[in-house]
C-alpha cells in the first residue's frame, strides 16, 4: 500500500504559497520585535535632528516653508506632538513601525517577482524583516525609518514596471510615491533618474507602461516639486528643496559649527519638561558664506576630500545608527562594516558585468538595485557631514537584502548533489 506523501494542507499553504510565506515572515518579525523591545526596552529616541522637524512643523502650520526640512515629516511630528506633547512621539513610532511591517508585504512581493526560487525569495525577505537594527531605527524620531519603508514600496513599483507586471495603478503610483519620498527626504531626489531609466527600459522592451496616464502622473509630480521649489525661492532666494546640503557642506569644509546657534525645544512629558536640543542655523553667519565660496571656487578639492570620506566610512557599521554597536549578541551578527558591503557590491557588479559581456543579458532588476546602492553611497559621501554613514545609507538596506539572494538565484548557486554509486558484490 502506497503511503500518501503529500504534506499536510496547512503545511503546504505555509511553505509553498506566497500567502503562507508572508504569514511566517510577518509573524516572526512581530515576534522578534516584541522580544527585542521587551528585553531592550521600548523607548522613543531622538537626536539633534528631531528638534529641527518640530520647529519646521511649527513654521509650516504658521503658513511658511522651512529652510532646512521638507514638509512631510515635520507635519507628522507637529500633529503627533500637538495631540500629546512628548507622548505624541509614541504615535509617530507606532506609525513608523506599522509602515515597516506593511513594507514587509511589498518586499516579499518584489522578491517573488524577480527571484525564481521560493527559498531565496524567503531568505531575502527574512534578511530585511528579521533585522533588529532596522526595527530599532523605527523608534528613533527621524526620517530614515519611514524613508526606508517607502523605498521598499518604490522598489516594488519600479521592479513591477521593468519586469512587465506594471498595471495602470502601479505606473500612476510610482511617480507619486517618489514625490512623497522626495518631500519626506530630499536625498531621495537621486532616485529620479533610476525611475526614468526604468520607464525608458520598459518602453524599449515594449512592456506595458500605460503611457498617457504615466505621463500625466509624472507631469503632476513635477508640477508639485516645481511649485515647492518656487515657493522656496520666493522665501529664501534659491531654487531648491532645502538648504541641508549647504549646511552639511559647510560642516565638512569648515570643520566647525560656528553657524550653529543651538536651541532647545521644550516638550511637556507628563509633569516634567523635556528639553530637546537641536541645531539652529544662523544663515547670515559669515562662515556659511565663506564655506559656500570655498566650495564654488574649488570643487575639485571638495571632490578629493570625499575620497577621505569614503576611507573613513569603511569603519562604520551598517545598518546601525552610530558607532560603536550596542552591546548585545544580535547586532554583531546582523551588521556588517561598510567596507564589507562595498566589497560585496563590487563583486556583484563584476559578476554582472562579465555576464553582460558574455551573454548580452542585463537582468534589469539586479542592475536597478545596484544603481540604487551606488547612488545612495555616492549621495551620502558627497552631501553628508561625515559622521552618520550608517544612518544616511539606510535606504540601501532593502536593496542589499534583495541583491544578494537575487544573485544566488540568478547564478543558480546551490548545494551539489552527489550520486552514490552502489557496487554489487
Amino acid at each position: 500500500m502506497k503511503h500518501d506523501r503529500k504534506p499536510h494542507n496547512l503545511l503546504r499553504i505555509l511553505f509553498y504559497t506566497d500567502f503562507g510565506n508572508r504569514f511566517i515572515l510577518i509573524s516572526f518579525a512581530v515576534l522578534i520585535a516584541w522580544l527585542w523591545f521587551s528585553f531592550a526596552g521600548f523607548t522613543v529616541k531622538w537626536d539633534d535632528d528631531t528638534g529641527t522637524y518640530l520647529k519646521a512643523g511649527d513654521m509650516i502650520f504658521c503658513g511658511h516653508i522651512d529652510r532646512l526640512r521638507t514638509p512631510i515629516y515635520p507635519i507628522l511630528c507637529h500633529i503627533a506632538v500637538s495631540a500629546l506633547q512628548f507622548k505624541g512621539f509614541y504615535i509617530l513610532v507606532f506609525v513608523q513601525l506599522t509602515a515597516f511591517f506593511v513594507s514587509l508585504f511589498y518586499f516579499h512581493k518584489t522578491a517573488s517577482t524577480f527571484i525564481r526560487n521560493r527559498i531565496w525569495a524567503f531568505v531575502a525577505t527574512a534578511l530585511y524583516a528579521w533585522n533588529i537594527p532596522t526595527m530599532e531605527q523605527t523608534t528613533i524620531i527621524h526620517t530614515e525609518s519611514l524613508s526606508t519603508s517607502l523605498t521598499v514600496w518604490f522598489i516594488y513599483l519600479t521592479t513591477s514596471v521593468i519586469t512587465g507586471h506594471g498595471s495602470r495603478k502601479i505606473c500612476i503610483t510610482a511617480p507619486i510615491v517618489l514625490t512623497l519620498m522626495i518631500l519626506l527626504r530630499p536625498f531621495n531626489m537621486y532616485f529620479v533618474p533610476i525611475m526614468i531609466l526604468a520607464f525608458i527600459y520598459a518602453k524599449y522592451h515594449k512592456l506595458p507602461i500605460w503611457q498617457k496616464q504615466t505621463f500625466y502622473s509624472f507631469f503632476f509630480c513635477i508640477l508639485c516639486l516645481f511649485s515647492y521649489c518656487s515657493l522656496f525661492k520666493a522665501s529664501y532666494g534659491s531654487f531648491s528643496l532645502s538648504s541641508v546640503s549647504e549646511i552639511n557642506r559647510a560642516y565638512s569644509i569648515l570643520n566647525n559649527s560656528a553657524f550653529d546657534k543651538g536651541a532647545i525645544y521644550p516638550l511637556a512629558d507628563g509633569d516634567s519638561i523635556r528639553h530637546l536640543r537641536y541645531w539652529d542655523i544662523d544663515y547670515s553667519h559669515l562662515s556659511l558664506q565663506t564655506a559656500d565660496s570655498i566650495y564654488h571656487k574649488n570643487i575639485l578639492k571638495y571632490a578629493t576630500s570625499r575620497v577621505t570620506q569614503f576611507d573613513i566610512s569603511n569603519d562604520y557599521y551598517f545598518p546601525v545608527q552610530n558607532n560603536p554597536l550596542v552591546y548585545t549578541y544580535v547586532l554583531p551578527i546582523q551588521c556588517l562594516k561598510l567596507r564589507q558591503i562595498y566589497l560585496i557590491l563590487l563583486i556583484i557588479f563584476i559578476c554582472r558585468f562579465i555576464t553582460f559581456l558574455h551573454r548580452k543579458t542585463m537582468f534589469a532588476p539586479t542592475t536597478m538595485l545596484l544603481l540604487m546602492c551606488f547612488t545612495t553611497i555616492f549621495t551620502t559621501l558627497w552631501a553628508s557631514a561625515g559622521f552618520a554613514f550608517g544612518r544616511l545609507m539606510l535606504p540601501m538596506f532593502p536593496c542589499l537584502c534583495l541583491l544578494i539572494p537575487g544573485v544566488f538565484d540568478q547564478y543558480n548557486i546551490k548545494l551539489k548533489k552527489y550520486h552514490i554509486i552502489q557496487v554489487k558484490r
Binding site: 554583531p332 540568478q410 547564478y411 548545494l415
Partner: protein, 428 residues
C-alpha cells in the same frame, strides 16, 4: 608558444608567483617598520626558559621547542638573534603556502578555488606580519598548515599510515612549541582513528598504533617530569598565571602576581658575543600566593565563569587585522581581511550545518571538516577560557583552518547562469 602557455598556466608556476608575491608583501610590510623585529617582555621569558632547559630542568611556563630555537639562534649569532628567528619564521610561512595548496588539492577542489584560497592565505598581511614578532604565533600558524596537509593526506592520500605518523609527530612538536595545541588532540584523534578504521593492512595499523602509543608516552613522560619538579601533572603553568591575572583584574584576588623582571644575559655565541634583554620576566609566585589564588578561584567559580561568558561576548567585536597603515597597498590589503570574530563564529556554524547535511544526505566523507571544526572551536574555547586578554592573537593558529574551511565550503556548491527575464520572455 604553446609550451610557454602551458608553463604559464601550470600549477607550479602559479604557486611560485603566489609565494613570491607573499614575500614581496612581507618585505614591503617590514620596510614600514624599518625592518625592525618586534619583541616584548614575553620574548625574554623564552630566553630565560632556554637557560633552564640547557641546565637540564623544565621551565614552569614554557615548553621546550621555542626556547631551544632561541638558544640555537643565539649560538649562531647573538647580535642578530632576533633577525635569525624572523627569517626562520618567514621561511616556514613561505613553505606552508605550498602545504596549504597541496592540502586543498587533496579534496579535489576546483583549480580556481585552490589558488584563490592559497593566495588569500599567502597574501594575508595579518598572518605574515607575525613573522617579525618573536612569539610562537608565526611557527604556530605554519605548523597548523603542515598539520592540515598531513591530516588531509592521512584521509585521502595513498600512504595513509606514513602521513598518520607524520601527523602524530607534528602534533607532538606543536604541543612542545605551544601548550595551547593540546586542544588539537581531539581533532587529530578523529583522523587517526578514521585512518586505523580504514587501514586494511595489518602492518600499517601496527605502525599507526605504535606511533600513537609512543606520542602519548612521550607526552606523559614530560608531564610526569613536570610533576616531579612543580607538583602538577601538566605541560605548563601558563593557564594558572592567566587565571590568577584574570582573578586580579575582576577584583576576586588582590595579591602581588609573582612576576619578576630580570635583565637577561645570554651565553656567548661562536664569536664571543652575547645578547642582553632588559625586560625578561619569570613567574615565581610564593606558595602563599598560589594557595590564596586557588581558594579565591574556588570561592568565586560561578562569577569567574560568568565573566568568561562576558569575555566571549566582548570577543564578538574583535577582529584579526593588526598591520600598520603607513603603506597604502598593505593598508588596503589588510582591510580586505577585516572579519570580526562574530562573523567567523557564524561561518563556522554555517559550515557545520552544511557538512552535516552533506554527511546525511550525500554520504560525503567529512572527517577532515570535523577535524577542522574541532580545531577552530577548541581554539576559541581555549583562548577565552585560558587567557585574560589578547584573544585575537591567541586565536591566530586557527587561521589556516579557516582558509581550508572556506575552500571546502566553496567546493560544496555548484553554480551556473540562469536565463534572464528577457530571454525567458522571448522564448515565451
Amino acid at each position: 608558444m604553446a609550451k610557454i602557455k602551458s608553463i604559464l598556466s601550470s600549477n607550479l608556476f602559479l604557486l611560485t608567483i603566489i609565494t613570491i608575491a607573499s614575500l614581496v608583501l612581507y618585505l614591503l610590510y617590514s620596510s614600514t617598520i624599518g625592518f625592525a623585529t618586534l619583541y616584548y617582555d614575553d620574548t625574554g621569558s623564552y630566553f630565560i626558559a632556554a637557560d633552564e632547559f640547557m641546565h637540564g630542568n623544565i621551565d614552569s611556563l614554557r615548553t621546550p621547542i621555542y626556547p631551544l630555537l632561541c638558544r640555537f639562534a643565539v649560538w649562531l649569532s647573538a647580535p642578530y638573534v632576533m633577525r635569525i628567528i624572523c627569517v626562520l619564521q618567514e621561511i616556514c610561512f613561505l613553505l606552508s603556502i605550498t602545504a596549504l595548496y597541496a592540502a586543498i588539492r587533496t579534496f579535489k577542489a576546483n583549480k580556481y578555488i585552490c589558488f584563490i584560497a592559497t593566495a588569500a592565505y599567502a597574501l594575508c598581511p595579518i598572518l605574515f606580519s607575525y613573522s617579525n614578532l618573536i612569539f610562537t604565533e608565526s611557527l604556530a600558524i605554519s605548523s597548523t598548515t603542515f598539520l592540515i596537509y598531513s591530516l588531509s593526506n592521512t584521509i585521502f592520500g595513498k600512504y595513509r599510515h606514513i602521513y598518520g605518523v607524520v601527523s602524530i609527530a607534528l602534533l607532538l612538536f606543536m604541543i612542545m612549541l605551544r601548550p595551547f595545541f593540546v586542544c588539537f588532540i581531539p581533532g587529530t584523534a578523529i583522523v587517526i582513528l578514521y585512518a586505523l578504521y580504514k587501514c586494511h593492512n595489518k602492518k600499517n595499523s601496527i605502525i599507526l598504533y605504535t606511533a600513537s602509543v609512543a606520542a602519548i608516552s612521550l607526552l606523559s613522560a614530560y608531564c610526569y617530569w613536570y610533576h616531579s619538579i612543580y607538583g602538577k601533572f601538566s605541560f605548563s603553568n601558563v593557564y594558572e598565571l592567566n587565571r590568577d591575572m584574570a582573578l586580579y583584574k575582576w577584583g576576586m584576588a588582590s595579591y602581588p602576581n609573582g612576576i619578576n623582571y630580570y635583565i637577561f644575559h645570554s651565553p656567548t655565541d661562536r664569536n664571543g658575543n652575547s645578547l642582553t634583554i632588559y625586560e625578561a620576566w619569570k613567574w615565581q609566585p610564593s606558595e602563599e600566593y598560589r594557595t590564596k589564588c586557588d581558594s579565591a578561584y574556588t570561592q568565586n567559580k560561578v562569577r569567574y565563569i560568568k565573566n568568561k561568558i562576558i569575555e566571549f561576548h566582548k570577543s564578538l567585536y574583535l577582529n584579526y587585522s593588526q598591520s600598520p597603515k603607513s603603506i597604502a597597498p598593505l593598508y588596503y590589503i589588510t582591510r580586505l581581511f577585516y572579519v570580526s570574530l562574530a562573523q567567523i563564529y557564524l561561518f563556522v556554524i554555517l559550515f557545520t550545518i552544511i557538512e552535516v547535511f552533506n554527511l546525511f544526505r550525500n554520504k560525503k566523507n567529512i572527517i577532515l571538516s570535523l577535524a577542522l571544526i574541532s580545531f577552530v572551536t577548541a581554539s576559541v574555547f581555549t583562548s577565552i577560557w585560558g587567557a585574560d586578554s589578547q584573544y585575537t592573537r591567541l586565536m591566530i593558529p586557527m587561521a589556516p583552518c579557516l582558509f581550508a574551511m572556506v575552500a571546502i565550503f566553496a567546493t560544496r556548491f555548484t553554480y551556473f547562469h540562469t536565463k534572464s527575464y528577457e530571454a525567458r520572455q522571448e522564448t515565451a
